[in-house]
């Protein structure tokens, strides 16, 4: 994982490839088979363990994901927050707590899929692949947080410039190339997850119902416009 060639492959070719597949794949799937865009919830078949799996998982993973995005978009502000050791440590412990929630929830969800016969009925091999990928990603993320602190600071200082260099089509690898294996694995797995998204149930993230917040409560569809005909 350390030669310049593999570094370029994993941290330049791979992210572009993943984004390329992601955009093309989701658009293609949305146009070709919109019917397949669903949360594919199994709450209907079992709801007690569903709560203790899915709720901690989603709140954990979404908070951690948001933190990554914030560190990507607002690195200065994150570094300013981290300028007091107490605040830095508080942020890191909070992040760790949410990551642990995600892990607990994910393990709960996997156990549920494994042991409940009804839920097992609606579980495909692809679902297992997604769950395993997520497990690896959450675990490596946790290990990075534990063994290579303090990620909130060095992500903003080192990885954000790398990610922006990708956005500007002028990749600078120095920081990632020298990063520990765990960090590299976490980054590569993120690209893998982005790349497989269009072909898995993960697409449900893309159809989060934001317009609901501002649309009118009732929806009426006409197959002929009332005014037009009159």
């Amino acid at each position: 994982m350390t030669t310049p060639f593999t570094n370029s492959l994993l941290f330049i070719v791979f992210p572009y490839l993943a984004m390329f597949i992601f955009f093309l794949g989701t658009i293609w799937r949305y146009r070709q088979s919109p019917f397949t865009y669903s949360s594919l919830s199994s709450q209907f078949l079992e709801n007690k363990r569903h709560f203790w799996g899915l709720v901690p998982f989603h709140y954990g993973i979404l908070t951690v994901l948001t933190a990554h995005i914030v560190a990507f978009l607002l690195p200065r502000q994150i570094l300013r927050w981290d300028s007091q050791p107490f605040r830095l440590h508080a942020l890191e412990v909070t992040g760790l707590a949410f990551a642990l929630l995600a892990l607990v929830g994910l393990l709960g969800a996997m156990l549920r899929r494994l042991t409940n016969s009804k839920v097992r009925e609606v579980t495909t091999t692809l679902d297992w692949m997604v769950l395993l990928l997520l497990l690896v990603q959450v675990t490596t993320g946790l290990c990075v947080a534990i063994f290579h602190p303090w990620g909130s600071a060095w992500f903003a200082a080192g990885l954000t410039p790398y990610l922006w260099s990708l956005v500007r089509f002028n990749p600078e690898l120095a920081f990632v190339a020298a990063a520990p294996v765990l960090v590299k694995l976490h980054i590569v797995m993120a690209y893998v997850l982005i790349g497989v998204t269009p072909f898995t149930r993960l697409v449900h993230i893309l159809v989060t119902p934001n317009p609901y917040l501002w649309r009118r409560p009732q929806v009426v569809r006409w197959y002929r416009s009332p005014r037009e005909i009159a």
Partner: protein, 280 residues
């Protein structure tokens, strides 16, 4: 049209980092080597490079320059000896050092060595004694409570010191407790900090260089740490950190259970149970 353009652009983008722009060896030396090496100015972290081509053959030198860790990995005796002389610090791979540039650099070193000793490339770290103010300022800079003037991230992001307690500093980079000796004291460490040579430090600090007064304060901190303490085990803070996280997660679970306490379990079973209880 679009579909043909995209792979093309994609290829170009991927190929971009492999092309390095031609560079003057003199400039390159100043930017990448001078933190650890001089030409006729005496030893810093690394050896004085004057007459280096007379001490060792060019083929070996070029191979070593292009990828020092690889040569060390082969347990080359001369390379290992160099590492011992540098207090165990290995020379990092220098980004952008192509074979052509390595040759040009050696030529440059030869040319410079023949001339009079070059003007002191060494940074001007003040010669005065460290004061308690320096130590205090160093601590603040290290922890980030006083921002670095050029906007670089605080040391605590990736480094820790044996003198820190509780949830100490970061562990992405090395523990800096003994860095003062390792980099050869005031002059060596000072030069190192002026233009950090490792790829990671370079990528983070090349646009946010450390200023001489900041370096002085940090040196004061490093000297103090190296005299007062020893590096803590790399896993020392994990129990505290982890227990904090576990506590937070447990709190989160309790909170979730409480927020959604009126969620539906099984209405049918509840009704059955209530009716049977009523009948009994």
């Amino acid at each position: 049209m679009k579909s043909r353009f995209f792979p093309m652009a994609f290829f170009l983008v991927c190929a971009a980092p492999f092309c390095t722009t031609a560079q003057q060896p003199g400039n390159f030396f100043q930017q990448n080597c001078s933190a650890c090496h001089t030409i006729g100015g005496g030893r810093r972290v690394g050896p004085d490079l004057k007459d280096v081509t007379k001490r060792k053959d060019r083929a070996w030198l070029e191979e070593f320059m292009e990828d020092p860790p690889a040569v060390l990995h082969k347990r080359d005796p001369y390379a290992l000896q160099l590492q011992r002389e540098a207090n165990g610090i290995a020379m990092p791979a220098v980004p952008g050092l192509t074979p052509a540039l390595a040759e040009a650099l050696l030529n440059y070193i030869d040319a410079q060595g023949g001339a009079a000793p070059p003007p002191a490339a060494a940074p001007s770290v003040a010669e005065r004694l460290f004061t308690s103010e320096d130590l205090a300022a160093g601590t603040e800079l290290f922890q980030g409570t006083r921002p670095l003037s050029q906007g670089g991230p605080a040391c605590i992001s990736c480094h820790t010191l044996g003198t820190m307690t509780g949830l100490a500093g970061g562990r992405l980079g090395p523990d800096l407790t003994l860095v003062y000796q390792r980099l050869g004291g005031r002059q060596g460490a000072g030069a190192w900090l002026t233009a950090p040579p490792t790829p990671v430090m370079q990528s983070v600090f090349h646009q946010h260089t450390l200023q001489p007064d900041e370096i002085l304060s940090l040196l004061s901190l490093f000297e103090d740490a190296s005299q007062r303490s020893h590096p803590a085990a790399a896993t020392a803070e994990i129990p505290i950190f982890l227990s904090g996280g576990v506590l937070g997660a447990a709190l989160g679970l309790v909170l979730m259970g409480w927020i959604w306490r009126s969620r539906i379990g099984s209405v049918r079973r509840t009704v059955l149970k209530a009716a049977q209880r009523g009948a009994a």
